[in-house]
């Protein structure tokens, strides 16, 4: 009886704690100084508090910036210039009659997003269509707060450090005074309500949250973290510079968040790249999973090539067959497959109702990466090259995205499918991909794990 009571109390306590602290705290051992720059990285695998997160694969903005400065990838000639952060008040700009010559933006508030594009240009940070950046926060353990803070203070003193060239998409001569930007770190004092109100972002995440409850919506964007008011925010800013690397315009109002301090603690932001699910009607991700474990393979490159060669064939076979019956589209990147079925009767939805005709595109991306990567974000797809330099990329990951529209009859408008139609397709796509993994694994004499859907390959 006592045991049961104890169990109930412990479960209740755990759930209460979980409810209060949803933001993961990075393990203290995962933060250390490496050649004078701070590193948030895993040196042990037995981190209990952070067990669901792999710091190896988490793209902490602070790490990126430290690395950019340490390796001086895109050096700026003048690093003795310290511009302030962008001002979140269009009125102020208008009153001083300063136009925004760099981009012509009319954004009046500070938003969290890298400098991907502007009026008539894009930058190296631009993503392919239907992908977007998202930011999450992670708590710094109390004993490492001072270390991280001192790193952040140092970064502000660095000045301009990273040159970003504009790739001109179309010419807007009267707006363009500069063809490049420089990055720098600045901080905002969030105890000033005017500044806090000027930041039109949820401090916990930059993703506009679909399906929010009325209470959540009323609070959005959230200006508190774990119920504590924020006091300071560190951001990476972007300012237009001329050929001598001297600022020639006002800073862009989109900034990348790096860290935020509240009365309860210090948090750092990580960045992921994920499918923009709401980029258009009918677009959704229905399969994302690690699919092959190559950790037992001695020659990884050979194993990867061999697995991918067979896997591509198997995927093609599965998608070409009943019920998906889609055609392979050729000419895409080596790690991407696309199938289409246009204005044909749907086999997936065949039954008494209908007849349903479909307009479907299945895009499959796969890449190699280290174990424990944040698969749910698809981030590894973008960052796999960077990981490859430092880690053993012994797992193959896969993300499948479906664009689907359904109509009754061949002709007419193709609207967004209903939930049950989505589910029917998700089920078939999942089945096709798992069959492809299983068949590939069998062909290579590996072992297919039915529970995880991962094929364990041993090629020597």
């Amino acid at each position: 009886m006592r045991k049961i009571l104890f169990l109930l109390i412990s479960v209740a306590c755990k759930s209460m704690l979980y409810g209060q602290n949803k933001i993961p705290t990075i393990c203290s051992e995962n933060i250390f100084l490496d050649r004078d720059s701070l590193v948030l990285i895993s040196i042990t695998d037995n981190c209990v508090a952070y067990k669901n997160y792999c710091t190896n694969a988490t793209a902490f903005l602070l790490n990126y910036i430290n690395r950019k400065i340490a390796y001086n990838y895109y050096p700026v000639k003048r690093n003795n210039i310290f511009p302030g952060p962008p001002v979140a008040n269009r009125g102020l700009v208008d009153n001083y009659r300063i136009a925004d010559p760099s981009s012509g933006h009319t954004v009046s508030e500070i938003v969290f997003y890298p400098l991907t594009s502007g009026h008539g240009f894009k930058t190296k940070y631009a993503l392919p269509p239907h992908w977007r950046y998202s930011f999450q926060i992670h708590k710094i353990p109390a004993d490492k707060e001072r270390l991280v803070q001192s790193n952040l203070d140092t970064l502000i003193k660095i000045g301009l450090y990273d040159k970003i060239k504009k790739e001109i998409e179309f010419s807007v001569p009267f707006l363009v005074t500069s063809d490049q930007f420089a990055s720098y770190i600045q901080s905002y004092d969030l105890t000033d309500t005017a500044i806090l109100n000027g930041i039109n972002m949820d401090l916990e995440s930059n993703i506009g949250k679909p399906g929010m409850s009325a209470e959540e919506l009323a609070e959005y964007p959230k200006k508190k973290i774990e119920n504590a008011p924020p006091t300071k925010l560190w951001v990476e800013c972007y300012i237009p510079i001329d050929s001598s690397d001297i600022p020639v315009g006002i800073p862009e109002r989109n900034v990348t968040p790096v860290a935020v301090q509240t009365k309860k603690g210090l948090y750092v932001y990580s960045e992921t790249i994920e499918p923009a699910l709401f980029a258009g009607p009918g677009l959704f991700t229905q399969f994302e999973n690690p699919v092959f474990d190559l950790s037992a393979c001695k020659n990884l490159d050979f194993a990867y090539q061999k697995v991918i060669e067979i896997f591509r064939e198997e995927i093609s076979e599965q998608f070409r067959n009943y019920p998906l019956h889609a055609d392979l589209i050729t000419g895409l990147a080596p790690n991407q497959l696309r199938f289409e079925r246009r204005f044909e009767e749907s086999n997936v939805l065949k039954g008494f109702s209908g007849p349903y005709y479909e307009l479907s595109t299945y895009t499959i991306n796969f890449w190699s990466g280290p174990k424990g990567i944040h698969i749910n974000s698809g981030a590894g797809y973008q960052n796999s090259d960077a990981y490859r330099k430092n880690y053993r990329n012994d797992h193959i990951f896969l993300v499948e995205m479906t664009a689907l529209q359904i109509n009754v009859g061949k002709k007419g408008g193709y609207p967004e499918p209903t939930n049950d139609q989505y589910s029917a397709y998700a089920k078939e796509v999942r089945k096709a991909l798992l069959n492809a993994v299983e068949n590939t694994t069998k062909q290579l004499n590996g072992k297919f794990n039915q529970n995880t859907g991962i094929g364990i390959i041993t090629l020597n």
Partner: protein, 163 residues
């Protein structure tokens, strides 16, 4: 043509068409080989046709609920004026349903066609048969009201009687 024959014909036409067509759209909307149009189009068609037909049915059944005593029931209307519009409307409707079902969504925009045809027959009946219905079923109102007025006077009441 006898007014009673007209009433029977129109009564049966509206009752049959309203109930069968309504049930057909509700049950078989978005079904393969029967009515292969989307639920949205089926609902739109239902909303176009049913209120008009229900209004006619109400007039008809209100008359039958308290039929007046009519001595000379002959009405001088050519037979085709009464029979042709409903029959043509029915033929067009049945033909359209058969066409859409036979095509089964392969080449025709069934939903749009069905909606247009339904609107078309409602307009045809609105321009033709509705007037006949008003003529042959319209006397009930006056008669009923007269009866009410008479009984009101006999009972010594002072109820408001319009008409």
């Amino acid at each position: 043509m006898k007014a009673n024959s007209i009433r029977n014909f129109l009564g049966l036409f509206y009752l049959g068409t309203t109930t069968l067509l309504g049930a057909f759209i509700l049950i078989f909307g978005e079904s393969r080989n029967i009515l292969p149009i989307s639920k949205t189009d089926a609902n739109s068609s239902f909303q176009i046709i049913i209120p008009t037909f229900i209004a006619q049915l109400t007039i008809i059944f209100r008359w039958y609920a308290s039929p007046p005593k009519i001595e000379n029931d002959d009405i001088n209307i050519p037979r085709w004026v009464v029979i042709a519009p409903p029959i043509l409307a029915l033929l067009i409707l049945i033909g359209t349903i058969l066409l859409i079902a036979a095509d089964n969504g392969a080449s025709l925009e069934g939903g749009q066609i069905f909606k247009n045809i339904v609107t078309f027959i409602v307009s045809i009946l609105g321009a033709t048969t509705v007037f006949i219905v008003a003529r042959v079923f319209g006397e009930a109102k006056k008669d009923v009201l007269d009866n009410i007025a008479k009984s009101s006077v006999q009972n010594g009441g002072g109820g408001h009687v319009g008409g």
